[in-house]
């Protein structure tokens, strides 16, 4: 008997939404199994990974802090993914956003001024958009794959950041560490409340989640982009411009990734360092899919992903596990989501042919 996949006539809508939950559950079970195989007590590991990070107000603050860049990047990417534009380079746009925003701070930040912070945020957004404009231009001009171009630009952005902090932007009083000078208080995003590191970028991200819901559900532009994603020939038939769609998708996702970048640099990091993100831009791709490309789902997905980052850190400290543990859980989550989605759309039959 041969196993084969047969397309379901009508995939269940309920199962479509249940798939991310099942993927999360399977990730937990498999992850715990791996930890047990590594010789850790399962109850212990679960507590360290998923309970302890949330056991204090500070911990909740950290959760929301890490949720912010994931949510920002995920919202932007989802708008592109819905319209079949595959920006895989949010990590690069995030890095450039951080560089551009920091550049404004380093150039004009020596004296306090109330417009400085808004200018930094805008510079970050514009930087992310410019970086995303490169794949948009190449795709609309030469029909190159935006997947490859945006991905390769990630590494260029990271090397550019490395060059800046090792060279021209290195803090002269920094004992030769590859870092910019520390930002002044007026160059940092205000905190939400005392005792946590969460800043107003989280509120901005929540606002953007609401706006992105309005964009996709209510606006004609959002409708056009969805049609382009679901049926390109129907979009051409209705007269929706493919070029405009590609530009819009990449510029929006570049803007939110750039904002995430400057929010990190002008937030918890407080200076430019050789690395400004532990892979938020890539993790946001998983977040977007786990959240079913829906703003509310993306919010939940980025909370989960943020918890995986925190749990991974905690596990390094308390269970002496390598930092790769976070990536392992991310990978498990994506793997099980893809598997669950496959089974939502197909059934396994036992017959030959």
């Amino acid at each position: 008997m041969r196993l084969r996949l047969e397309k379901r006539a009508a995939p269940s809508a309920a199962m479509r939404w249940a798939a991310p939950l099942m993927a999360t559950l399977l990730m937990l079970v498999t992850g715990m199994l791996i930890l047990v195989l590594l010789g850790k007590a399962p109850g212990d590991a679960f507590r360290v990974f998923f309970i302890k990070p949330l056991a204090s107000v500070y911990g909740i603050g950290e959760l929301l802090l890490k949720t912010t860049p994931l949510l920002l990047c995920g919202l932007g990417l989802a708008i592109g993914f819905r319209s079949n534009v595959w920006n895989i380079g949010a990590e690069g746009q995030l890095t450039i956003g951080g560089i551009c925003g920091a550049g404004v701070a380093l150039a004009f930040g020596d004296t306090e001024s109330s417009w400085l912070l808004p200018a930094m945020l805008i510079a970050g957004i514009v930087g992310g958009m410019l970086w995303a404009a490169i794949p948009a231009l190449l795709r609309t001009r030469f029909n190159t794959s935006e997947i490859l171009v945006s991905l390769m630009l990630v590494y260029i952005a990271q090397l550019l950041l490395g060059y800046l902090v090792h060279g021209p932007w290195r803090d002269p009083d920094g004992y030769n560490f590859p870092q910019s000078r520390l930002f002044n208080d007026w160059e940092l995003l205000p905190l939400l409340w005392d005792g946590v590191r969460t800043n107003i970028a989280f509120l901005i991200a929540l606002l953007l989640a609401a706006l992105s819901w309005i964009f996709t559900a209510k606006t004609y532009a959002g409708y056009r982009m969805q049609v382009a994603g679901l049926a390109p020939a129907a979009a051409a038939y209705a007269g929706f411009s493919e070029r405009r769609n590609i530009w819009l998708a990449l510029l929006i996702s570049g803007a939110t990734a750039g904002l995430a970048g400057i929010a990190e640099v002008a937030g918890p990091i407080g200076q430019l360092q050789p690395q400004v993100s532990p892979g938020y831009g890539f993790a946001a791709i998983i977040v977007a899919f786990v959240g079913r490309l829906h703003p509310l789902g993306i919010l939940l997905g980025s909370l989960l992903m943020s918890l995986l980052y925190l749990g991974g850190e905690q596990a390094q400290i308390e269970l002496a596990l390598p930092s790769a543990i976070t990536g392992l859980f991310q990978g498990l989550l994506l793997f099980f989501l893809l598997a669950a989605d496959l089974l939502v759309n197909f059934r396994i039959t036992g017959s030959a042919r």
């Binding site: 606006t219 969805q226 038939y237 209705a238």
Partner: protein, 530 residues
């Protein structure tokens, strides 16, 4: 003819086993029963028609015989022996050949190379050419083994497919809707070849829904309806109404075209030249066309002669560098996109329903927005879409066109082809166009829906809309058009009223018969201008 006639035929020699006998063949797909306990018997040397509307299960049944698909239940007997046909290679080894509706030829290879690729046993090129020539001469199927396929017409390509099958010396030849790509004259040539094959003892299974052809050619007919056996008949002894009744289960009523004086020109093409972006596409050359208010103009032609390109040039999906080459209501629109043309009063029903005329995964009400948002002001306010207006509009279309569905929130892909087409036509009609362009509006649509769609186009004409219809069905065009033109090789013929012309003239034009005369006229005009 009755449903109770036994499934045998007069050509059968008593005592000899039938060439092919299917008993109780059933095949289910998710959500559909394609074949339900179907019986079919084909005798040696018989030309046997397999009739039925689109979606009746003909193609599935033939795929089962050719080993592409396996049945869920039922038996196949070949020359009296029970067999299992689990692959096309097995089918060919038994002596079954099939000519598909959509050809499977590599355009960049020669005829001989294409045939060599399809043979189960490798043949040396030197002898292959000779064998191709031999078969093509013997059956009146002229093909040049050295020619590249992309330079050949559709009819020539079909000959290649037939020769390819005949090289395997089949005992049963399956032809799937072979005449949909042929001119009336080429159809007669094909019939000659098929009769000759039958006289040599080859059985032919001829799949079609064209009643007159079946009556001309076939000894026996098996009719499928909704996946089931509707009955068998001897086509020569039946009239159209009887065969149609068997095929669709109800009577046909003809279209009424009241006489009408056409008004001003609404759609005008003037010397439209458009190179195709597809390397194997057709270039449009010197296309002139005028459609007036209150008339239906039909474009006949064999598919692949520039219809697709012409439709894209009219809809705005393909822009023309010369803005004045396309005019809607007198305005030059050659460089305007589809949405801008719609705002000038264009309605357009494309050939592909799913994925172009509609978004398969979206609800009908969201599909109403697809073209409605550009033209119906209620559906779009300040960049925001009004879902309520779209719902109301979709509900109106569903009611007016009797679209069978679960309501305006049904997903487009859940509708049957005919119902989705009714929805798309209804959407375009109710957006109140001044010019309506419809490409193959009834292709693959059941008879009831076809009737309704044709009637809707006629009502538009009666309301003084300019209507242009492209179709491969000549009967349809003769029934509903005020004027006919023919497209061949990217050129458009002069127009004729149905009364002025005949199937023969249109047929000869379909193979390019008007082009030489048009070129001569053009030369005279050029000389006069010089």
């Amino acid at each position: 003819m009755t449903d109770s006639l036994p499934p045998t035929n007069s050509a059968a020699t008593p005592g000899s086993a039938p060439r092919l006998a299917l008993r109780g063949i059933s095949k289910r797909y998710p959500g559909v029963v394609a074949n339900d306990a179907v019986d079919l018997t084909v005798q040696p040397g018989e030309i046997h028609a397999l009739m039925g509307e689109n979606g009746a299960g003909k193609s599935t049944l033939m795929k089962i015989v050719y080993g592409v698909t396996r049945p869920d239940a039922g038996t196949i007997h070949w020359q009296g022996e029970p067999v299992t046909i689990d692959s096309p290679a097995r089918a060919r080894a038994l002596g079954i050949g099939m000519v598909f509706q959509h050809f499977s030829l590599f355009e960049t290879l020669t005829v001989a190379e294409n045939i060599a690729l399809a043979l189960d046993h490798r043949a040396p090129p030197s002898t292959l050419d000779a064998r191709i020539n031999e078969v093509s001469e013997r059956y009146g199927l002229p093909v040049d083994p050295k020619r590249l396929v992309h330079s050949m017409s559709v009819g020539e390509r079909q000959r290649v497919e037939i020769v390819r099958c005949l090289l395997q010396a089949p005992q049963l030849l399956i032809m799937d809707e072979p005449t949909s790509v042929l001119t009336p004259q080429a159809v007669q040539t094909l019939f000659g070849t098929l009769r000759r094959l039958a006289s040599e003892g080859v059985s032919i299974l001829y799949i079609s829904h064209k009643l007159d052809e079946i009556r001309q050619l076939c000894d026996t007919a098996t009719v499928l309806r909704g996946g089931r056996l509707a009955g068998t008949a001897t086509p020569r002894l039946e009239d159209d109404a009887g065969l149609a009744r068997l095929m669709i289960g109800s009577e046909l009523s003809p279209c009424q075209l009241p006489p009408k004086q056409p008004g001003e020109i609404m759609l005008e093409l003037t010397n439209l030249n458009l190179p195709s972006s597809d390397p194997f596409g057709t270039h449009l050359q010197r296309v002139d066309l005028r459609v007036r208010r209150g008339e239906i103009v039909g474009i006949a032609g064999v598919s692949g002669n520039g219809q697709k390109e012409l439709m894209a040039a009219l809809s705005g999906e393909c822009l023309s560098p010369d803005a004045g080459a396309v005019r809607i209501g007198g305005q030059p629109v050659g460089r305007l996109g589809p949405a801008a043309r719609r705002r000038l009063g264009l309605g357009f029903v494309p050939e592909e329903r799913l994925g172009r005329g509609s978004v398969p995964a979206m609800s009908l009400s969201d599909n109403a927005l697809l073209t409605g948002a550009a033209t119906a002001p209620a559906m779009l306010r300040h960049g925001l879409v009004s879902r309520r207006a779209a719902r109301d509009f979709a509900t109106g279309v569903i009611a007016a066109f009797n679209v069978k569905c679960g309501g305006e929130s049904s997903i487009a892909s859940s509708l049957s082809g005919g119902n989705l087409q009714k929805f798309i036509v209804g959407r375009e009609v109710r957006l109140d166009p001044q010019v309506m362009v419809a490409a193959q509006p009834t292709w693959g649509v059941d008879v009831g829906a076809s009737q309704m769609i044709r009637q809707a186009l006629i009502e538009l004409r009666n309301r003084d809309v300019a209507v242009l219809v492209v179709s491969e069905e000549l009967d349809e065009l003769f029934a509903i058009c005020d004027r006919l033109v023919v497209i061949a090789q990217g050129r458009l013929s002069p127009s004729r009223t149905p009364a002025q012309t005949s199937v023969e003239e249109i047929g000869s034009w379909m193979s390019g018969g008007f082009i030489a005369a048009a070129d001569a006229k053009q030369e005279v005009r050029d000389a006069a201008a010089a």
